[in-house]
Homo-oligomer: 208 residues x 2
DNA sequence: GTTTAAGTTAAACGTTTGTTTAGTTTTGGT
DNA sequence: ACCAAAACTAAACAAACGTTTAACTTAAAC
């Protein structure tokens, strides 16, 4: 895949939404064609097959997914401030790309489907390296504790967020969040601060 | 659905594994019939349809999923000990039932599929009530801090665990976990202790 | 031993699936 | 204006899908 033209992007956008809503196997090429107002044959014409379209979709999205951590690193701020900004960056990226995240999580674990995700993993490794730098800064200044498994920090931030979304119906019932707006408001004003609180508590050096 | 006979259980067990591996839409009735060594028609004969079989599967599994929290509550132990036991109960249940959890998370969020999960939510609410009791115990003895959003504690425990599993390939690469055994060992000796550490840090009353 | 119901089967049902074909329209360079 | 390449379409393709049918076997009851 060299370059994507306008029509291809239009198809991928529709496909992304439908795959996230109904799953890859639950979405037919005809569904995509109908909603994208194109002919069924265009999928094969542009991407070769439905499977290759999924690969193109993942490739397209992941290439755009690197965190803007460089600027964060260079920022002359308190490690605690950097940590907050870091969490916000992560959550915002996930919120913007929640469709493709759903797809990747779902189809990746799918045994029979073999998607190329080396690039996806590379992005995650890069981001992990930057997190490690921020954590080490905090450790050197004595503000963060020493025994931190940095690798598990992304899983903590994203895990809490995804679990909240995946059990959405339960939380809407328990927390009395009637509308989608209520739900997003809770994420903004309660969930994200909670995630920050969790990481702060975890990283705080008690011996200081 | 009144009672499940041996054959029905055999079918559901195979279906559970395949749905978890390949998704509901990615698994055909013929796949299930082949692996369960039964005739294709038996699915419709016993359950009515493929969809109703999924409902029966979820109903069967969730009825068996209540945490044994009652004994934990009555235990005359330190709140910190109870917290540890609580986390172990949660994780162990998820590890035992990880297939049905995968299915529920992914098929539930599926827009077009309308599965009855009131019972599933009821179980979760019951469990949440018990967690609240344990937390309140710790708060009354002054060991836990007061401003805890109890509702988000299950999402924290399960979220970290699921995220670790969902991005398995990434973590196998980053943490150099070559075999399945290595992976499970890491969960046992690193991930679960980490989750305990997270919750302890979060709940600990600093003003004590 | 006969009867009745439940269990089980292979085959066929009508749809829907992803993909291809063969033909038409549009586009852009000369 | 012409032509070749690209874009696009309706129709058809075989394969796979979930489900139903009708016939057959087994099991239990009387």
């Amino acid at each position: 895949m060299t370059e994507l033209n306008e029509k291809q992007l239009q198809i991928l956008q529709v496909a992304e939404r439908l795959f996230a809503e109904k799953g890859f196997d639950g979405t037919s090429v005809r569904d995509i064609a109908r909603e994208a107002s194109i002919n069924i044959a265009m999928v094969s014409y542009y991407f070769g097959s439905k499977d290759k379209m999924l690969e193109a979709l993942i490739l397209w999205r992941t290439s755009d997914m690197r965190l803007q951590l460089e600027t964060l690193l260079k920022l002359d701020a308190d490690p605690w401030e950097k940590l907050e900004k870091l969490i916000e960056l992560y959550i915002n990226r996930v919120r913007r790309n929640h469709c493709i995240y759903r797809i990747i999580h779902f189809e990746l674990a799918n045994t029979q489907r073999s998607i190329k995700i080396e690039e996806f993993n590379e992005v995650k490794k890069r981001n992990l390296g930057m997190i490690r730098q921020i954590v080490e800064e905090g450790q050197q200044s004595g503000q963060f504790r020493k025994d931190i498994i940095v690798e598990l920090l992304p899983a903590t931030v994203l895990g809490i967020y995804f679990q909240f979304h995946n059990t959405r119906l339960f939380y809407q019932s328990v927390l009395d969040l009637k509308t989608d707006e209520d739900f997003e408001q809770y994420v903004e004003h309660n969930l994200i601060p909670y995630i920050k609180q969790v990481l702060k508590a975890l990283l705080k050096n008690e011996n200081q």
